[in-house]
Amino acid sequence: MTTVTMTVNGKSVSREVESRTLLSAFLRDGLNLTGTHIGCDTSQCGACTVHVDGKAVKACTMFALEAEGAEVGTIEGQSSHGKLNTIQEAFKEHHGLQCGFCTPGMVMTTAALLKDNPTPSEAQIRAHLEGNICRCTGYHNIVKAIMAASGQDVSAIAAA
């Protein structure tokens, strides 16, 4: 066991972990931050997407020890005191989620996208979601929500 120390959602945390402990397991089991979900074994579904030093990564494909000293952001850090952020508001308003399982990853991926590209086109959004799989929504309302979150007029997109 090795001690790992990192900042998670602005708070310094320290835990004993095995080398094989994934960042996702560290967050879920170690810190009880269960909003980071595990939907596949092959690093494709994106339900576990978190931010490490400001970049979106798949927490299931990174060891906790590799996040030593890093700033880690999870879905639990996206809202504070019951206030939704702009992305979360847009997902809610435009029904960009159904069962909710992929949603944390979608929100985290969106946050990273909009940081680099504040007004992405529909095509850019769809391309950027390549690593986030949703089985419920057909992506229509997710893409729409992301466009809305970036301040674009979505009124012309078929109603939802």
Partner: protein, 787 residues
């Protein structure tokens, strides 16, 4: 400025899902919890010669190991629907044990389970189990299974589960109609096997309390009461009143979480044996190998037409794969959810369907979003399109000519159902308008200018959902009733808890259901909460599948609320010293007709629980009512769909450029949710048409067992959809006038897409008449090389 969670419009459940505070089964950890891991067959078919667990038992952290031997005294996981063959004999029902015993029958079939302190320790020990199998030839192909001498279940001596005819009495007339027809179009097709792939893998966690002999099972289920019933009555024999099944937040189901699975029984048995909570969480590979798959039909369909293009008969022969064991609804899916829809939207007088269900050494196959109706729609709508092409007729005109007309309802279809309402021409009109069919020629020219072939596909569907009238399904072989239930509890302080049998795993019941009650009572929906998913809290309902939640459970909510109103009026009448017949309820206020005398809903609620002056022989205290609702018929949503695709002639790659879905869902309670349901169904239907391909090799190995090889639809595979439900014709038999909307998109879209691709290929000079799904680039390109 960020807004408070509840200030943003949208669904109530969104707040927890968007903040990472949902509670899915795997998010729940209990004190002293142990982990279960399953040893799964690496081969498709084999005799278990040896399972030596001695080395595994000695591994660190191991608490217990179970094998099939431990469950020989308990029951099997049953099929929920008895199908009789054409000769009157009952279907074959081989036992489906908790753990494989004697034989393993598909890759992934669990033959042992290890319980250890941690999942890693359990996994280590699982690998130390010394199991020896005598491998037998894998039975994979259905035709070979029916003709061969090797059996998935030796004790039944055949791989044919049943040979079903529908409607047997129509057979001769159908044959005659085809024999004498002006034109017969024949199509052989495969409805490709799909893996449901709810994003949350299955997970089950059990605990046992020795002092009370009570079990609690948290599990990823669409219907906790059904799961409890199956475990109690058939598998483990745990008294129903000693077993609580809780399905907390569930990350999608699409059918795959309807069924009881052996892992649930195993963790219950392990929790009792160890006196500790035991949890199992599937990984995605296990999901691919063991979740019930969907579809997998091989069909020959014939459509007979007269010289004017009137449909005379549909005749189909289908082989339906049921996999290695009968999953709970597996026998209903290819029969009564499929054969009864084989008249489509049409006035065709003759329909005959033959379905042979076939055991193979593959994962069990059961209902997956649409369940039988997509297979029916695909067969019908593909063969109609082929007929139109053969006859040189416009595919829309040909369909319209044969539609059931609005003045024909209720309409008795030739496949045995009574359609209550619909207007297929209105749907087609609306579709043509939204899809801008007039602009297609110009769009095709634009595509051709950039070297792409453009195709237009259209489709009309009807389906039967809102499952289901118990008396009808009972006649047809169902072993359960398919009503649902709701309890409306008005609390003393005036807010409401509504306990429902339906389970929400994406459908937004927590948002949609309160509106029904609020509208009826004239109170604010914010004071009403839905309770679901916990058998210790909710009445016995049958859960959520078959697009039934609103039509069946929503109707139970209506009935229970009606009872609340009756009771509340009595209380109000007592308070106002009037007759309850004179009490009116409007905007949450009870008043005596024609007077100013009134009491509020809140005052009545409080009085119900503080009945100091009640006439106790006339009015019971409390304000809580339960209703069970059993539908009189299925609901019959229908639709007209249109798809435009581009095919890249150089690579065969298909892209969906436009998609229009016009559906008749009757009355719509929450348009946002209904539209979202259609979007999701379209995603899955387009996935079936173009992407999703479940492939077993000849040895029964699942080649598409991960997202590396099974193509899930991604955001860039799909366009924005045009969805419309303005042409609703209310359901005539449920109090809300609603029709189910959950499966429509998955039912109507596959033939729409395939029709479009065939059209594109023909426009490019490739006279392809049919291609089996999924229309992958390789398949489309290959077809272009051979014509």
């Amino acid at each position: 400025m960020p807004k408070d969670i509840n200030e943003v419009v949208g669904r109530r459940e969104d707040a927890r899902f968007l903040t990472g505070t949902g509670r899915y089964t795997d998010d729940i950890t209990q004190h002293n919890q142990a982990a279960a891991v399953f040893a799964r067959s690496p081969i498709a078919n084999g005799i278990i010669r040896k399972i030596d667990v001695s080395a595994a038992e000695a591994m660190p952290g191991v608490l217990a190991i179970f094998t099939g031997e431990d469950f020989t005294e308990v029951g099997g996981n049953p099929a929920g629907w008895m199908i009789n063959s054409r000769d009157g004999s009952p279907m074959h029902e081989p036992k489906r044990p908790v753990l494989a015993h004697g034989k393993v029958r598909h890759v992934g079939d669990a033959y042992a389970a290890v319980i250890a302190e941690t999942p890693e320790q359990a996994q280590d020990a699982m690998e130390a189990i010394d199991a020896d199998f005598e491998e037998l030839p894998a039975i994979v192909d259905m035709a070979a299974a029916l003709s061969g001498d090797d059996y998935v279940h030796d004790e039944i001596g055949t791989n044919q589960c049943f040979d079903w005819g529908w409607i047997e009495d129509n057979r001769a007339a159908t044959d005659a109609a085809i024999q004498g027809a002006h034109h017969v179009t024949t199509l052989e097709l495969v409805n490709n096997r799909l893996v449901p792939n709810a994003m949350e893998p299955r997970c089950s966690m059990a605990s046992y309390h020795p002092a009370t002999e009570e079990y609690v099972l948290h599990t990823t289920s669409q219907n906790p009461h059904l799961t409890r019933l199956l475990i109690s009555a058939f598998v483990l024999g745990i008294p129903e009143n000693k077993l609580t099944v809780i399905a907390p937040d569930v990350g999608g189901g699409f059918g795959s979480k309807i069924y009881h699975y052996g892992e649930e029984a195993l963790v219950l048995a392990a929790a009792k044996k160890l006196g500790r909570p035991v949890k199992w969480t599937a990984d995605r590979t296990e999901a691919f190998l063991t979740d019930a798959h969907g579809r997998d039909h091989v069909t020959k369909i014939e459509l007979a037409l007269d010289a004017e293009g009137n449909f005379l008969a549909f005749r189909t022969e289908t082989m339906a794969n049921v996999g290695a064991y009968l999953s709970n609804f597996s026998t209903a899916t290819p029969t009564f959810l499929h054969g009864t829809l084989m008249a489509g939207n049409y006035t065709v007088p003759n329909v005959y369907v033959n379905v042979k269900a076939v055991f193979t050494n593959t994962a069990p196959v059961d209902a997956y979003r649409g369940a039988g109706r997509p297979e029916a729609t695909y067969s019908i709508e593909r063969v109609i399109d082929k007929a139109a092409r053969e006859l040189g007729m416009d595919p829309i005109t040909l369909r319209r000519q044969n539609f059931v007309k609005p003045d024909q309802y209720p309409f008795a279809s030739a496949a045995g159902l009574e359609y209550d309402s619909g207007n297929y021409d209105a749907l087609m009109d609306r579709m043509e308008e939204i899809a801008d069919l007039g602009g297609f020629t110009a769009r095709r020219a634009a595509s051709e200018a950039k070297g792409m072939w453009r195709g237009l596909g259209i489709n009309a569907y009807i389906e039967a959902c809102g499952i289901a009238p118990s008396n009808l399904v009972g006649v047809l072989g169902s072993r359960v009733g398919l009503y649902d239930a709701a309890t409306v509890r008005v609390n003393a302080t005036g807010n409401l808890s509504v306990m429902v049998g339906a389970h929400s795993h994406g459908q937004g019941h927590e948002t949609a259901f309160p509106d029904i009650v609020a509208d009826m009572l004239g109170i604010n929906a914010a004071s009403i909460d839905i309770v679901h998913g916990d058998t210790s809290k909710i009445p016995f309902g049958m859960g959520t599948y078959g697009s039934r939640s609103l039509a069946v459970c929503g109707s139970a909510v209506v009935r229970a609320t009606e009872k609340i109103i009756v009771k509340a009026k009595k209380i109000a009448a007592h308070m106002l010293e009037a007759s309850d017949l004179d009490i009116e309820l409007k905007d949450g206020v009870f008043s005596v007709a024609g007077t100013n005398s009134s009491v509020s809903f809140g005052e009545v609620a409080l009085k119900a629980y503080i009945p100091h002056d009640f006439p106790i022989t006339e009015i019971e205290p409390g304000l809580e009512e339960t209703a069970f609702y059993d539908p009189a018929n299925f609901t019959y949503p229908s639709g007209a769909y249109c798809c435009e695709v581009e095919v890249d002639p150089e690579t065969g790659k298909v892209s969906v450029e436009r998609f229009t879905a016009v559906d008749d869902f009757g009355n719509v309670i929450n348009p946002m949710i209904v539209t979202g349901q259609v979007h999701g169904g379209l995603g899955q239907g387009i996935g079936q048409a173009l992407l999703e391909h479940t492939t077993y090799d000849e040895n029964g190995q699942l080649l598409s067992a991960s997202y590396m090889d099974y193509t899930m639809p991604r955001a860039d595979d799909l366009p924005f959809f045009h969805v419309d439900h303005s042409q609703g014709t209310p359901c005539t038999h449920n109090p809300l006038g609603v029709k189910g909307c959950g499966e429509a998109g998955a039912i109507g879209s596959p033939p729409t897409v395939v029709n479009a691709v065939i059209d594109a290929l023909n426009s490019g000079g490739k006279p392809v008449t049919h291609l089996d799904m999924p229309l992958t680039p390789h398949r489309v390109w290959s077809a272009m090389q051979t014509v």
